[in-house]
Every structure is written in structure tokens, then in C-alpha cells.
């Protein structure tokens, strides 16, 4: 009974805060509404017995949303929401597509004959995950590590300011506009 009450409480809160993300004006509030939605989803994951993953989701999302808040305030024209402005395009179309998607998914959810549970749940889910990642799923873990490393390199390359060594710009066939020509003039 308590689990069911908590499920509904966390579920409704996750959806409400998710919707508030696109309704609030202040960017700080928007970011923390998204964080609240993530935390309630993490609570649902904890309800399902995935204690390690639930806690990791909370920790990761707190850090991610704090970073996101900085970017929101950097890039939004109206970060504090003091002058509310509409920054939408094709709102009715987007609403109808998302409602249609929800109806299709919800219908499928209740129409599909889901299979019965295979196997029994491990008593220690964290240990099972760790043994899987360090055993049969080692390749997955290594690929994820490489993907994260490639992301670090790519994001630094993309985000850093082009310095004095980027003399050609986007057009590599043009001559660079150097204030003092270098080289041996060949």
C-alpha cells in the first residue's frame, strides 16, 4: 500500500515538474523543475529496488542541472523571467505530435501482452551490476569509457576559442590574413 502511494506521488510529481519546465519563466526555476523531475524519477527507480542506480541518478542530475543553470543564464535572453516572452514555434503542432505519441504509447502499453518475468531478482542488485560490468559486460563498459573520453576531447575542441593558430578560419584555401607575414616567403 505504501509503495503504491509513493509510486503515484513520485510519478505525478515527476510529470508535473517535467511540464513546469516549459511553463515557468525564470531559467533558474526551469532548471530546478527539471532537477525535481529527475529526482522523482530516481525515487521511482529506488522503489524498483535499484538502489545504486537511483542514487547515481540523483547525484549525476544534481551536478548536471547545476551546470545547466549556468548555461541557461548565459545563453537565455531573459534569464530571470522578469519580462516573460514566448520563445516557441509551432506550439499547436508540437502539442498535437506529443499528445499523439503519448496516446499511441499508452494504447500500446495496455494492448501488448507483456511476457511473464523470467528469472528471479538478485538479492543484491548493486553486486549483480558490478559483477556484470566487470565480467560479461566489460566490453560495454570499455566502449562507454571511450565514448566519454571522445566526448571530452570533442567538447573541448568545439568550445574553445580559436586562437592565433587558427589563421585560416573556415576557408582553408584562402590566404591567412596575418598582420606580420612569417616563413621564408617561398
Amino acid at each position: 500500500m505504501l509503495t503504491a502511494v509513493l509510486f503515484w506521488l513520485f510519478g505525478v510529481s515527476a510529470v508535473v515538474f517535467g511540464f513546469l519546465v516549459f511553463r515557468l519563466d525564470s531559467m533558474a526555476r526551469v532548471t530546478f523543475a527539471l532537477l525535481a523531475s529527475f529526482v522523482f524519477v530516481a525515487c521511482e527507480v529506488l522503489l524498483l529496488g535499484l538502489s545504486y542506480l537511483g542514487v547515481v541518478i540523483v547525484l549525476m542530475m544534481v551536478m548536471e542541472m547545476v551546470i545547466m543553470a549556468v548555461f541557461m543564464i548565459m545563453y537565455m535572453m531573459n534569464p530571470a523571467g522578469l519580462m516573460p516572452m514566448a520563445m516557441y514555434h509551432n506550439k499547436p503542432g508540437a502539442m498535437s505530435v506529443s499528445l499523439g505519441t503519448f496516446v499511441v504509447l499508452a494504447t500500446g502499453t495496455f494492448l501488448v501482452d507483456w511476457p511473464e518475468s523470467r528469472g528471479s531478482r538478485p538479492s543484491d542488485t548493486t553486486k549483480a551490476l558490478g559483477e556484470s560490468l566487470m565480467g560479461p559486460q566489460m566490453l560495454t563498459m570499455m566502449v562507454l569509457g571511450l565514448v566519454l573520453f571522445a566526448t571530452i576531447v570533442a567538447t573541448v575542441v568545439l568550445a574553445t576559442h580559436r586562437g592565433r593558430y587558427d589563421r585560416f578560419g573556415d576557408d582553408l584555401r584562402a590566404r591567412p590574413d596575418d598582420p606580420v607575414p612569417g616563413g621564408v616567403r617561398r
Binding site: 517535467g18 516549459f22 524498483l48 548555461f71 506529443s98 562507454l144 566519454l148 567538447t155
Partner: protein, 100 residues
């Protein structure tokens, strides 16, 4: 509490995220929509692990989803920074080069 209710919750979050991704002009808000969609996928994956296949690979799928979320946000912000630096663009409508 059963599989269908969890999937319904995941569908709701995915639909809200899709609305945000389609309707928002700001690139940062668009990325928030994508994050919400991944949020829904995490709920669905956790529910499938619990109710259908409680094997460790199901948990690994959730780890993969979390990594995808982190990569999406990092690359998204880097692209926004690069395009803003190059062309002063921070709205999706101003960065619609491929459509033209």
C-alpha cells in the same frame, strides 16, 4: 504498481520532452526536452528490468542511458558554444542551415 503504470509514466515524460524538443526556440530548452525524453526511457528500462527480465544486463542498459544523457548534454552545450561564438546564434530557427 505494475509494469503498465511505469510504462505510462515513461510515456508521459517522453511525450512532455517531445513537446519541448519540438516547440522550443532556445537550443538549451530544446536540450531540456531531450533530457526529459531520456528520463522517460530510464523509467521504462527500470520497469522492464523489474517486471520482465531481472538480469544484470537490464541494469547495464540504464547505465548506457545515463551515459547517453551525459554525452548529449556535453556535446549539446559545446555545439551551442561553438555556433554562438561563430555566428551569434542561440535559437534553433537561426541555425536552420540544413533546411535551406
Amino acid at each position: 504498481m505494475n509494469l503498465e503504470l511505469f510504462l505510462l509514466l515513461g510515456s508521459g515524460l517522453l511525450a512532455i520532452g517531445l513537446y519541448g524538443a519540438l516547440s522550443q526556440q532556445s537550443v538549451v530548452m530544446l536540450m531540456m526536452g531531450l533530457e526529459l525524453m531520456f528520463n522517460g526511457l530510464i523509467v521504462a528500462a527500470a520497469a522492464f528490468w523489474y517486471y520482465v527480465a531481472p538480469v544484470a544486463e537490464g541494469q547495464v542498459l540504464i547505465v548506457v542511458l545515463m551515459v547517453v544523457m551525459a554525452v548529449e548534454m556535453a556535446v549539446g552545450f559545446a555545439v551551442v558554444t561553438a555556433i554562438f561564438r561563430a555566428r551569434d546564434v542561440d535559437m534553433t530557427d537561426m541555425a536552420a542551415d540544413l533546411r535551406e
